[in-house]
Amino acid sequence: MNIVVLVKQVPDSGADRNLRTDDNTVDRGSANNVINEMDEYAIEEALKIKEAHGGEVTILTMGPDRATESIRKALSMGPDKAVHVVDDALHGSCAVATSKVLAAALGQLNADLVLCGSESTDGRVQVMPHMLAERLGIAALTGARKLTVDGATLTVERQTEEGYEVVTASTPAIVSVWDTINEPRYPSFKGIMAAKKKPVQSLSLADLGVATNEVGFDGATSAVLEHSTRPPRSGGVKVTDEGSGGTQLVEFLATEKFV
């Protein structure tokens, strides 16, 4: 099975994150940039499917030059190769334009199965799988907590608010996964060394046949007008329980009219 895993480089969600003051885009320059955590689960799932059914796993990343670090990190887990869509004109692209670029890249890769995380930890927008499915005319099975592959039939169990759903589709399809699906492996030393030699193909917008005015700020379908940082919360009261902490807690709730 030919599997492509979408991997996004994001600023570490465990540290402070900001938007740039000049153009309101995500500040990647000053951030510690890492693989979107949810994508690691997609890589793990791809490797498990390859181990069980054979095939090839390709990482697909759209991002600036420095995304190479995340691509090598992803490859060190075990995928075979990577494709990096990189072009200065992509800076400032909206989700709609991003889906156009990724769909064009996927169009060249002939994937049976596209895997990705359910959301990125920076934008948390969750739209990419369905945007790609819409463009490529393939099925999207989103939010998988379990994925079964039986020949060309994919079966996914997905959490809903009322319980869960079982959903099926035939390949080619795109499946997004939650962090409940597996436990991603740590790269081995051997894997890290091997990753340095694995092929990483760079593709520009010209290679993909996408015009520069369809992406970036020029091609954006939405715009950030301004942003501000929320002031930190302050003025809270902290008491140490000396036998009446529970009562004091309820007294606070009462003054706030919750009880």
Binding site: N18, E134, A140, T155, R233, G246, L249
Partner: protein
């Protein structure tokens, strides 16, 4: 006045979800609200009363197996056709997984911008969003097409404004390519009478400090006394104390209730990402240096197994 389409979210158990009432309230500021019901046969009929109560002037319904037997693609096709026909001033959907997914497909079908997790929307289409776990506030606008936005639950105070909507049944003209992802089973899991986590006005969450699954009864008891939902930190979920669907945080649900009570939760960024826009935050933790206290309007340093039962008893006394 132009129509504003509100794509209805409802559950079989509770009917119209609160976020739908919030969207109808918001839509009245922008134009004439029209509710769009996408579901099984008879869905619109069952929901019409409530939708009218909150100002829906019209209800469009697309119902049947073709709609609810598949993941969102058929729904997006129906809404896209409706948008082309009625040329609404805006399209509002819930910022839930399904709402975002329908919106994603609409954006591509209509070559239209999309804004998610919107907490306010001005008449000129300027949307307010919170980013990076609530630490950044963003003002943004769709610059191609109409405002296509998903609204975050607990953003707007829903207010009634009675209307008597007529129901128009839409022709469902979905194609084979809309039916690629088929739902073969829906399994309801027990969740009792508690409100849905993202919509609840009060959320009581437990973390690693709760110690084990059995002790979560304490969290549930306090939640029930306050009419709230139960949440859990990732540490508690990973330790198997509570099911994953109740996880609050960066890799779980984002909640923004009136009152959030964190029990035995240290307040790692992972958790704060899902709850720090809550209006009032209360924390109980034995470690006085825990970062959760930086967020708390009221914090108690101490043993939650002493404090929570005492609080529960005090609430019962006051009832």
């Amino acid at each position: 006045m132009s129509e504003v389409l509100v794509v209805v979210e409802a559950t079989a158990e509770f009917g119209v979800k609160k976020v739908t009432l919030e969207m109808l309230t918001l839509a009245r500021e922008l134009g004439a609200p029209s509710a769009v019901v996408l579901g099984g046969t008879g869905a619109a009929e069952a929901l019409a009363g409530k939708l009218g109560e909150y100002g829906a002037e019209k209800i469009y319904a697309a119902e049947g197996e073709e709609i609810d037997g598949y993941l969102v693609a058929p729904k997006a096709t129906v809404v896209a056709d409706l948008v082309k026909r009625v040329q609404p001033a805006a399209v509002l959907l819930a910022s839930s997984q399904e709402g975002k997914e329908i919106a994603a497909r609409l954006a591509v079908k209509l070559d239209n911008g999309i804004l998610t997790d919107v907490v306010a929307l001005a008449a000129d289409g300027t949307a307010t969003q919170v980013a990076f776990a609530g630490s950044t506030i963003v003002k943004s606008k769709v610059t191609r097409g109409l405002p296509l936005v998903t609204v975050r639950p607990n953003s707007v105070n829903p207010t009634p404004a009675a209307a008597t909507p007529a129901v128009e049944q839409l022709t469902v003209a979905v194609t084979d390519s809309d039916k690629l992802a088929k739902v073969v089973d829906r399994v309801a899991e027990q969740k009792g009478s508690r409100p849905e986590l993202t919509e609840a006005g009060v959320v009581v969450s437990g973390g690693r400090g709760v110690g084990n699954a059995d002790n979560f009864k304490l969290v549930e008891e306090l939640a029930d006394l306050l009419g709230g939902a139960v949440g859990a930190s990732r540490a508690a979920v990973d330790s198997g104390f509570y099911p994953h669907q109740f996880q609050v945080g960066q890799t779980g649900k984002t909640v923004s209730p009136q009152l959030y009570i964190a029990l035995g939760i240290s307040g790692a960024i992972q958790h704060r990402a899902g709850m720090q826009t809550s209006k009032t935050i209360v924390a109980v933790n034995k470690d006085g240096e825990a970062p959760i206290f930086e967020l708390a309007d009221f914090g108690v340093v101490g043993d939650l197994f002493k404090i929570v039962p005492q609080a529960a008893e005090e609430i019962r006394k006051r009832k």
